[in-house]
Symmetry: C2
Subunit: 243 residues, 2 copies
Amino acid sequence: MADNREKALDGPGRLDFPRPLTTVDVVIFIVREGVLQVLLIQRPTDENEPFPAAWALPGGFVDTGRDADLQSCAVRKLKDKTGVVSPYLEQLGSWGSATRDPRGWSATHAYFALLPAAPLASAGAADARWFPVGTGKGKLKLAFDHAEILEAAIQRLRSKVEYTSLPAYLMPPEFTLPDLQRVYEIVLDRPLEKSAFRTRMLAADLIEPVARMRKGPSRPAQLYRLKKTKSPIYFARTFNPPT
Amino acid sequence: MADNREKALDGPGRLDFPRPLTTVDVVIFIVREGVLQVLLIQRPTDENEPFPAAWALPGGFVDTGRDADLQSCAVRKLKDKTGVVSPYLEQLGSWGSATRDPRGWSATHAYFALLPAAPLASAGAADARWFPVGTGKGKLKLAFDHAEILEAAIQRLRSKVEYTSLPAYLMPPEFTLPDLQRVYEIVLDRPLEKSAFRTRMLAADLIEPVARMRKGPSRPAQLYRLKKTKSPIYFARTFNPPT
DNA sequence: CATTCTTAGTTGTACAGTACAACTTACTTA
DNA sequence: TAAGTAAGTTGTACTGTACAACTAAGAATG
């Protein structure tokens, strides 16, 4: 166990000064019902807690006894709330100030995670719910500065989707190329060119066909899966730049 | 002044658990003598300090009394060491673990700054020195996990230079297009195409010509300056991808 | 069983921006 | 006046996307 009581040295090395609170928050994205969604947790209704009953990003204090490092802490919180163990997880940034938490100077290390679409992607915990990422309208107030963090996560996701293969991590184990394109379009909120999209994806050496086809009410589509051990691909161009 | 002593609530809101140390470190880049360089600080030789006499990134503890937020803390440390007040400053990420600092669980918020080239860009402090960013060879051991942080900063810088106008912040107030191209080439460590480079930069609406020319031993070159209020430009393509 | 509908997937032309390389320009120096 | 040098331009080739029309394969319909 880590120890709160540091030896108080004299001179420049002394450590007996106020320490900020240290937390980790995770922005968890998923595509459900054709919409990009985020997992939020309702804070306890206890009036002694900050932002009682408000919705917040899943997260909490770093536990110096249990968490070896920040990433493990984020993985732990992700697993607590969703049961998912190893999704795509990327550090988003950190937010720290004297005023963001009424309990005192605090700094949070924010991560964002992409969860594969699953048939029954329910929120794991009772106080957790998926919220669609509104396109501008109907934003609800979040606890702390979590609205700002969420906004940054969406921006980062959109920006990276322009030139990376990140949406691959939002797909179920098997998917078709039109499926993948649809997820790109959902995240970017604009249509993409079919033929250029296919060319790019197939040239990226990112996915491989499986022996089956997806049957439906029209022409069957080739099913693909992510190649193993694939870190995200960075493309040399963005898609058709919106402006 | 912020207060170290929090009221110890009962129930889930109690705050009397160990808090990690919170620091901010800044990776400060400059181009001097045709080489990308980083500012490092020599740690005190006092044997009671961690990593005595080792070189480290400029940084230190967040001062909850003086620093309103993380960014201000980074700005303060930057000003302390260089005197520079408002360079390009971007958050790089955070590193936190039980073992990175021998004094206990600690988390650092890392920033990186780009300083404009100046005729006499000396390190401001006596214990500070510029080190060239070695291309693989001759890396010196840094304190804490600062080697890792520096490596991440270099990677981030290189990556963004591929498709942004970041190097503009490394330029003196007036510069020529070949000057700018040279800085791109120094950071990327590979040659770029002259005509494509010029086309891209001039189309970016980023710089404007001033009424003077740079005279030299050969044909004079047009001088430019950064347009005011310019945030970095993002290009839709990378430069000629290395592979 | 042929027709229609729908979505998967292909093909062809146009275009934008870069790669590559040769060229012209403007000034210094010998 | 000629040679040297770096700035800046021009022209052709090529890559990958934009746009749009096309073909392909199945289900649903009569």
